[in-house]
Structure formats: C-alpha cells, structure tokens
C-alpha cells in the first residue's frame, strides 16, 4: 500500500512491539529452566513446554518439580525465615524497594515476556500488569518499614506456599510475594504451568537485588506440584485460581493449622441504571469483559441493564464491539489477544456452543489462522436461570439480562454462588451509594471497572474465596499474633447420679428466632455438678435445630442495617440486665463448674458487653490512598450469619465473648453453648429477651459440639463458622466449610484466656467483618 492509499483508507496498519530482547533473554537462559531454590537455579529436569498461545511456538522448556524439589524449596525457605524475620522491617523494606526498582528498570522485558507467554495484549502487560506489580512492591516496602510500629504484637507466619494462576502471572506473583516477604515470611511459589516465564525473570531480579537466599523460592510444574506445596510443611497456603481447586485446597488443609487465603472465581455483575453515562458504561465493558480476553476472575461478565435503556444500550455496545481489534498480542493496537491455551479455548467454545438461549453477537473480525483466539461475544436476552448467567466462562463472553428497579438489580446481581466484584453505573449518587454496599462482593466499582491498587484490598465473599490482598487488611493474611499458644485441654462434663429436689423444676430450652423452643429431637441431657448431683437438664439440639436456627438468623438480617448506635444501645442494655441478675448467674456458674469464679465471670461478661457496645460504632472503615481522583472506601461489613461453638471453659464469658463482637458488627449468630456447662446460656436467653434484641439476631443451641459441627459448618446459608470448643473440631469444620467456602476461625486446639486481653478486641472484630472496597471515582 502506498502512503496515498493509506491516506484514503486510514487503516492502522501494524505496530508490533519487538520480541527480540525477550527472546534473547530466553536464549541466554538456555531456553530451559530449572527451579529457583535457595537463591540459585537448579539444573533443568524433565518437564514441559511453555508455548506462545498467539503462535503455538515453544518459548522454553520448564521443569516439573518432584517431591524432592518441593521439599528442597520448603527447607530452603524454612532455613531462611528466622534470619529474614530478624532482619527487621526496615531491613526488609530495602529489599522490597530494590525489587520494585528492578521491576521498573526491566519493565519492557517483563511486559514483552508476559505477552509472549500469556497472549495478553502488550498494552495491558506494559501499562497495567507490570506497573501494578512494581506498585505492589513499593507499597509493601512501606508496610515492612511500618510493621514494627503499626502492627505491634504480630509476627510472620513462617513459610508460605503460594500457588498462582496464568491470567496475571507477574501481577499475581507480586500480590503474593510482596506482602509475604514484607512481613518476614519466606515463600515457595508455584506459577501456573502455562505461564512461568516472568516468574523465572523475577527470580533473576531477586538475585540482582541481592535478596537473601531462600527468601523467595520458585518451583514450576502442574497442579500436582501445587498439591505438593499445599501438603508440604508450610505455615500458610495462598491460592488464586478456580473455585473447584480452591475447594480441594480448603478440604486438604482442614485441621492442619495452616493459614489459608483463597482468591477464586467470579461471575461479577455490571449494573447499568437508566441515568448512567451510557457511552462511558459501554466503554467500561471493554475494560470489564474484554480486558485480558475476559480471563479475569473479577471480569464484569454479567451485564444487568435497566429495561428502559436496554435496547439502546445493547445497540451501542454492539457498535463498540465492532471497533475491537483482535490479533497479535504484541501489536500495540490490539485490544483482544490470544486465549492462554487451546484447552481454555475449547472450554469457552463448549460453554458458548452449549447455550441455546438469547441472541448472540460477535465482533465481526477475521481471527488469525494460527493461535488461540476467540471473538468478543455478547449474549443478550439471558436470565438468571440461564446456565451462562451462573457459570464462569473465563473468556471474552458477556452475558446480559435486564432489571426494572434498584431492588431487583441487587437481587439479580446477588443471585450467584460467587461474590468477587461488581460494577454500578449511575450518575445519581443516591442510587450508586445505596446499591454498592448491598452487593455481595468484596470489591465494588462505582462508574468504573477493574481498578486495582496495592492500597486497596481485593478479594471475595461466598465461593469467590476469603482473605484480602492489598491494603492493611491484606497483612492479616501474612501475620499472626506473636507468641506460642498453649494447648487447650478437653473440658469434660461432670458425671453423677445423685439428685436433690429443686423448689420448682426448670426447663431449659433452645433459643431460636427470639423464642424459647423445645429441641426437635425431644431429648435432653442431664447436667451434674462436681459432686455428681443433678442440677438440671439441657436440650440436645440436632441438625434440624441447626437448620431452624440458621433460618431464624437469616431472617434477622435487618440487624445489619440497624445503626451502630442502636446496636451499641442494645449491647449496653444486655449488660445492664445481666448485671441486675449477677448473683443468680454467679450461683449457676459456681454450681455448674464447681468453682468460685462465678462473680468474676459475670463481672467480666458485663465488662465485655460494654467493650463491644463501645466498639459497635468505632470499628471504622477507611478511605484508602489509591491513585485516582476519588475515594476507595474500605468498608467494614458484617459477614452475615456466624455459627460459633462457644468455649467450654468459660460458660458465660465465653459465650458473651463470641456473641458480642459478632452482633456489634451487625452479624446474626447461631451459638452452640459450652457443651459441659450449658445452663448459663439457657438462662442468658432470658436476659436477651428483656433487652430489646430483635428475634433471630442471637440463637442459642445446646448439645454435642461434635454432633452439631458438621451440620453447622456445611450449611450453605452460613457465612462463617468459629470454634473455641475444647472438642477438637477444627478439621471437621474446615473440611465441611469447603462446601460453600465459608470463612472459618478455629482454635486448632489452642487455649485462649477469656478473662485476659486475648479474650477480646480487634481479632474478634476483624473476624466478624469483611472488608469491602468501594471505588468511587468522581469529577464534576
């Protein structure tokens, strides 16, 4: 074509980024890679090919890690960890800073290598992935610096096993490695088998930064290697990937005491109200679902448009799709690159081809003859019941439906197993700020999409996983309270057969939905005192009582919307009413436990209620310093329904200590009272009954912890389960929790001093809340 021809056609032509330097780097490494263990690359071994999905060409050979390799990596990390932690935050900050700088110095090499390996457009790897990765190291260099001052009493977990996906290979590495090493942990990281090359380059810059040996170890291989890391002697597992694998990891680590964070799949809603800036909302979808070929866990993949504008919106969207350019990811003018692997392409094709509903529109384009490509696709006229509205496609496929009212928009948006992210488009601040907190998602973007920053937490609710990456909350996942916990001895009920008559027989019941109810099974257990004298009977709850209690708790969701001031008032009122009956409770406690600490326990319980009444309106969210004109709110939201196995050893104080923080934050609870000493709890509901607490907010069961744990922990309508039982339930609960990936907080057989400082405070409040990040860019 002559210049005159182009002058007429005004085509873009091609603008390829050179792959020369990246390919030369691969050649310099021998086109073969071993693992990076203890500061050095191992000899390449048997393994697999890493291909460029845009061409199918082999880029390099990678080594499949053996059990011995994983063990060597974990040992290296274990050896390095104490010294790395002792180096101190300021010392570690220098290394993180160096890594950030080196990422920037080699930015283009990282970007080109990422695009070659993954197939994402060079624009994205160059302008998004690499800068965000560097930002993560800068941010966490700061966190290392501030750790001693700002996170007193917390220490590193130890060795972290980290398994990351192929969609953002370098960025996910940064999200995992930066906070871990900032806090004094060492890591064994496995990149995805399709995309390990930038991790190898990162290993190279770890050497350039002079990072102490063993702090960062990288082993390559497929899912089997991931399984080995999960099972290895690590203190924490961090995984980003599919919900299916996440569930397996939850089950595999159950009861191991390993800390776990999971960042899993999503089917994020993208809600457009009729008063939105429609052109901007259409453009936003390009970044929501066609960013990285839609291979984004938080992709806005469910378009939910208000009915009145749907037709016009879809027409504009189709016109926009016509302008998308699909092809060579190294071309600087390409919007949609290659799908990462033929197997993923086949999965997308199968899901879309299996759909018979709605109207399918595709960007009219000629796909390259070779390589893995899929045309941007829009399917309108779908419904929540449609398979494609529920299943994560993980490709450039947008599924669309409509809504009538704000309330219906929320219902449709939340009608999903997932809860990772959401977008809300409206020019009306009332609508946008009302809807954002109502969405079941860890991240909400108002009039935007796919905004990320190290200062803002990212992570999901429901089956999108748990834990946050980024921000202060992200550090929870890589630290723990300092000190070695004492083991918790089982607390056994007293046995006996002597009887002493009571003035008037009392019938303890379960407390469900604000009512005293008899147990479904109709059984009760005799409760004896230390001398073996029968002092009463406690109902034995069964799984149906669990079901009823959870249903009542879900019905009490209005509590979450009550003002914090009101929740505080009610907690104070509970304290007041408990104090008024102090003597009676003290007698019961003394009689049940055979101690004389009843007075002290009631006083401590009243005090604890005061503590959480105080906290109710003070455990604030934050505004995060993200690089936009706007606000990123880190909002504290209640988890929802929390099931809790209360401590056996402090029958009243223990129950109050788990109940109060949970309801102070707006949760509803199903409490399973101290198993050996349940009668304080069954008196306590009378206190609740007189304290204006709405029905369903607190539900109390008595019975066998071991029998009730599977039912409560596997219940799909429970968001979180805690256990402080002296029965070792940790494994059972964590395993059963894998079903809906609910959060768990279990004691792993460790004791807690309920009368002391560790019996209250921030850890309880943090467990009782989820941080939702709401991004609100603005501009008049």
């Amino acid at each position: 074509m002559t210049i005159k021809d182009i002058f007429q056609s005004m085509d873009y032509g091609t603008a390829p980024e050179s792959a020369g330097d990246a390919l030369a780097w691969l050649v310099d490494q021998g086109d073969r890679f071993g693992h990076f263990i203890d500061g050095a690359f191992t000899e390449p071994g048997d393994g697999f090919e890493s291909r460029n999905p845009a061409t199918g060409e082999v880029l390099a050979l990678l080594t499949q890690a053996t059990p011995a390799d994983v063990e060597a990596a974990v040992s290296a990390a274990r050896r390095a960890q104490p010294k790395w932690a002792r180096l101190g935050g300021a010392g570690r900050a220098r290394f993180l800073y160096a890594l950030a700088r080196l990422l920037q110095k080699h930015a283009r090499l990282f970007a080109v290598l990422e695009t070659l390996d993954n197939g994402k457009p060079i624009r994205e790897s160059r302008d998004i992935d690499v800068p965000l990765a560097a930002r993560h190291f800068y941010y966490h260099a700061g966190m290392a610096q501030l750790m001693a001052a700002e996170l007193p009493g917390r220490e590193a977990l130890g060795v972290c096993g980290q398994v990351i996906p192929w969609n953002f290979p370098l960025l996910m590495l940064a999200w995992k490695v930066a906070p871990a090493i900032a806090m004094g942990n060492t890591v064994v990281l496995k990149p995805a088998e399709y995309t390990s090359l930038t991790a190898m380059l990162f290993a190279d810059i770890c050497r350039q930064a002079g990072l102490p040996k063993g702090v960062v170890n990288i082993v390559t291989g497929d899912g089997h290697v991931g399984e080995m890391i999960v099972k290895a002697d690590v203190d924490k597992v961090a995984f980003t990937g599919s919900t299916e694998v996440g569930r397996k990891i939850r089950a595999a680590t159950a009861g191991s005491g390993k800390a776990l964070t999971l960042e899993l799949g999503g089917k994020s809603p993208y809600i457009v109200f009729e008063d939105a800036d429609i052109d901007s909302a259409v453009e936003g979808l390009v970044d929501a679902i066609w960013f990285n070929q839609g291979q984004v866990c938080c992709a806005g993949s469910r378009l939910i448009v208000q009915e009145g504008i749907a037709e016009r919106f879809h027409a504009k969207l189709r016109a926009r799709m016509d302008k998308l350019r699909i092809g060579d990811p190294l071309d600087k003018s390409i919007d949609v690159g290659a799908i990462v692997d033929p197997s993923q392409l086949a999965r997308i094709q199968a899901l879309v081809d299996g759909n018979t509903e709605g109207e399918v529109y595709r960007t009219p384009c000629t796909l390259p003859n070779q390589g893995c490509y899929y045309a941007p696709t829009l399917i309108t006229g779908l419904h929540p019941a449609s398979h494609l509205m529920q299943e994560e496609i993980f490709g450039p496929v947008l599924c669309a439906t409509t809504f009538r009212t704000p309330g219906e928009a929320v219902e449709i948006a939340n009608n999903t197993r997932y809860g990772l992210a959401a977008s809300v488009w409206s020019e009306n601040i009332n609508v946008a700020l009302d809807i954002a907190p109502k969405l079941a998602a860890g991240v909400v973007w108002v009039n935007g999409t796919n905004m990320f920053d190290a200062a803002a937490g990212f992570g999901g609710v429901r089956e999108s996983g748990f834990g946050r990456e980024g921000g202060w909350e992200g550090l929870q996942a890589y630290t723990r309270p300092a000190g070695k916990p004492k083991p918790l001895k089982p607390v056994m009920p007293f046995k006996g057969d002597t009887v002493e008559p009571q003035a008037v027989d009392r019938t303890a019941k379960l407390y469900i939905g604000g009512k005293q109810v008899r147990p479904d099974g109709g059984y009760a257990r005799a409760i004896h005192n230390r001398n073996g004298t029968l002092i009463g009977q406690a109902p034995i709850a069964n799984r149906k009582d669990v079901r009823n209690a959870v249903e009542a708790a879900q019905g009490g969701r209005g509590w979450a919307a009550a003002t914090a001031h009101l929740r505080a008032q009610i907690l104070y009122y509970i304290a007041e009413n408990l104090a008024a009956r102090k003597d009676e409770f003290a007698v019961t406690l003394n009689r049940m436990t055979g101690t004389r600490s009843g007075d002290k326990e009631v006083d401590a319980s009243v005090d604890r209620l005061f503590t959480y009444a105080a906290w109710a309106d003070k455990f604030d969210g934050q505004v995060r310093s993200v690089p936009i004109r706007g606000a990123a709110l880190a909002m504290r939201e209640p988890c929802g329904v929390i099931g809790a196995f209360c401590p056996d050893d402090a029958p009243l104080l223990g129950l109050v200590s788990v109940m109060a923080p949970a309801i102070a934050m707006g949760n509803r609870v199903v409490l399973v009272a101290s198993e050996p000493f349940p009668l304080a709890a069954t008196d306590f509901y009378q206190v609740l009954d007189t304290s204006d607490l709405p029905g369903g907010v607190v539900n109390i069961l008595t019975g066998s912890h071991a029998d009730l744990a599977p039912a409560l922990a596997s219940h799909m309508n429970v968001e979180s389960v805690w256990s402080f039982s002296s029965t070792d339930l940790s494994a059972v609960i964590e395993k059963a929790a894998a079903g809906n990936l609910k959060r768990t907080w279990v004691n792993d057989g460790a004791a807690r001093d309920w009368f002391g400082a560790e019996g209250e405070g921030r850890p309880f409040l943090e467990a009782a809340t989820e941080v939702k990040t709401v991004w609100i860019p603005y501009g008049a």
Partner: protein, 329 residues
C-alpha cells in the same frame, strides 16, 4: 462559494454531505445527556496506549492531519502580508520534495482561518487553490457584542468571501441553563450564514462541566451547526481529548437520531504530531472513518503543521529534522 476548485478536491463540506438542517429543540434529550468525567478521562488517557500508528501508516495519517488543518492566524497585528504568507503555506504546507517522496503532491491544508478584516486578502491569496477561507465571527472571542451586530458581522464576512463562519456561542446561556436562548441564538447565526457553513465554538474551557459541553453540543447541532468546535484558542484551557470525546459522542448520537453528520473541530493546544494522531484515532474509534475527512473534521491549529513537517522529513530521510528546514507560515 468556491466554484473554482477542482471536483477532485473533496474537502468542502457542501460537496459530499447533505447539510444538517437542524431540528426543533428537544429539551428532553438535552437534559438526558450526562458525562461522567472520570470515566471519560480514563478513556481519553488510555486511548494513546491502545492505538499506535507507525511507519508509512504514520506518514499517511500525518498527511491526513495536514489536510484537516484550519491554518489559523487570529492576532491583532495581522496584516495582508502576514495573511498572504499564511495562505502560501496553506497551498504548500510541506516542502515539495518531501511531498513528492511521500507520493502526496498536491496536498493542502483544509482551510485558512482569519478575522473578518483579513478575509479579502486571504480569498485573493488562495484564489484557484480550492482552499476555503473561514472567518471567526459574532464578536469573537467573547461573543458579548450587541446581538444584532454579531448577526450583521456574519453577513459581512459571508459577503467578503468567507465560506465558513466560526461563531462563538454565548457561554452565559449554557452557564445559566438557558438552552432555549442558546438554540435561538445559534439558529439566528445559522440563518445569517446562508450557504456558508457554521462552526459553533463552544468555548468548552469556560463551560465548567463536561455535562454542559454535552448539552451545548446537542443544542448547537439541533440549531443547525455544520461543525461544533471546542475553543476560540483564547481560553485558558482549549481542546482536550476528554472534551473531544464528549463532543464527538454527542455528534454520534445526533447522527444516530437524525442521520445527519455534523463535523468536529478541536482548536487550540494541539501542537504535536503525536497529538494529531491521537485525535485522529479518537475520531476513528468513536465516530468512524467517514469523519476522517476535512469536510467533517478540522484541527484549529497554528503550530501543529511545523511539528508534522519535521516528522515527515524524518520519515523520508531517517534523520531527525530541524524547524528552519521548513518554510514558515
């Protein structure tokens, strides 16, 4: 009108597109228009990273940019001699040897833009070139002279030979939400132009919000503007990509609703070849290729051409250029 130019020169609006006749003021539509500044700025900020034009394509695109330039002088010290020099540059915007090397002989700018008193010398200087003369009018740049004088000024300029009239709107009508007044005023200006084309200058730097820009764009198109234009070049903020995005999205909506294509002219502050490429890419992406012609797109610029000339010489020779190697305007 320019009956003398050759039929092959297609950059005159009247030769290809039916003129926008305007329509009744549709206030529902105007008030529905919104513009989310943050989202618009994000689109504008990322566009240069999403589209890249290289080598021969870049050269061709820069030639296209030249063909869309309204080569402008709007200075108090303009003289016939100064305007003559500008017009000579308009005829031969790039050194002949470079144009020959590019295979682009005969390339001219889109128009020459001057104040009223400079129309006559410009028309004389451009005779036979087919290059139209545009005149700024209606009390440019503030637009605060008596209304009847502003209307009369248009008539004078058309009589003097201006084929295009760049009118300025009354910003106060936008700032007070008096859309009817803005519509009526623009209607009157349009009527006064007769066959001459109307470019409505919104002075976006003085409108306060992008939403106002969107609404004013619609009102001016409804009133029959042939072009909407960002700025006089005299405001403290002139053409920007975000403002352009808002205005061309309004043009797109107007075309979708009426079938009429209205042209777009960013003016002021566009001085680099790279900026010109970004603007062309923005137009291509948001409005489509049809708008990449001088009958529907113009750059209001004075120093842009110099940078493009240097880039083109670099394209031809491979060596970076110097300003003094190119004829001054």
């Amino acid at each position: 009108m320019h009956s003398t130019h050759s039929p092959s020169q297609i950059h005159l609006p009247q030769t290809t597109e039916p003129r926008n006749p305007g329509m009744a003021l549709d206030l529902d539509w105007v008030m529905r228009a919104t513009a989310n500044r943050s989202a618009i700025e994000r689109r504008a900020a990322t566009l240069p990273g999403r589209r890249s034009v290289k080598k021969d394509f870049q050269a061709a695109w820069l030639c296209r940019a030249i063909s869309c330039i309204d080569l402008t002088t709007l200075a108090g010290d303009d003289t016939a001699g100064r305007v003559g020099r500008l017009c000579a540059k308009a005829r031969q915007p790039v050194r002949a040897d470079l144009l020959d090397a590019l295979g682009m002989g005969g390339l001219t700018v889109g128009a020459v833009c001057v104040y009223h008193d400079m129309i006559a010398p410009a028309v004389t200087a451009l005779e036979g070139s087919g290059i139209p003369v545009a005149a700024v009018s209606t009390g440019f740049p503030a637009g605060l002279s008596p209304f009847h004088l502003r209307v009369a000024e248009i008539g004078e300029s058309v009589t003097a030979g201006a084929a295009e009239i760049d009118i300025v709107i009354s910003r106060r009508h936008v700032l007070t939400g008096n859309w009817q007044a803005l519509y009526d005023e623009t209607r009157a200006f349009r009527a006064a132009c007769g066959e001459a084309h109307v470019k409505a200058i919104l002075a976006t730097g003085e409108l306060g919000t992008l939403q106002n820009v969107a609404r004013a764009s619609l009102v001016c198109m409804m009133a029959g503007a042939d072009f909407i234009k960002t700025s006089t070049g005299k405001e403290s903020v002139n053409a920007t990509l975000p403002v352009s995005l808002v205005m061309i999205r309004a043009i797109r909506d107007y075309h979708d609703a009426t079938g009429y294509r209205v042209g777009y002219k960013p003016a002021g502050g566009i001085s680099k070849a790279k900026d010109a490429l970004n603007y062309l890419a923005l137009i291509k992406e948001e409005l489509g290729d049809r708008w990449l012609r001088p009958d529907l797109f113009r750059f209001g610029a004075s120093s842009l051409l110099g940078d493009i000339e240097r880039q083109l010489e670099h394209h031809v020779t491979g060596a970076y250029s110097a300003g003094w190697r190119h004829a001054m305007a």
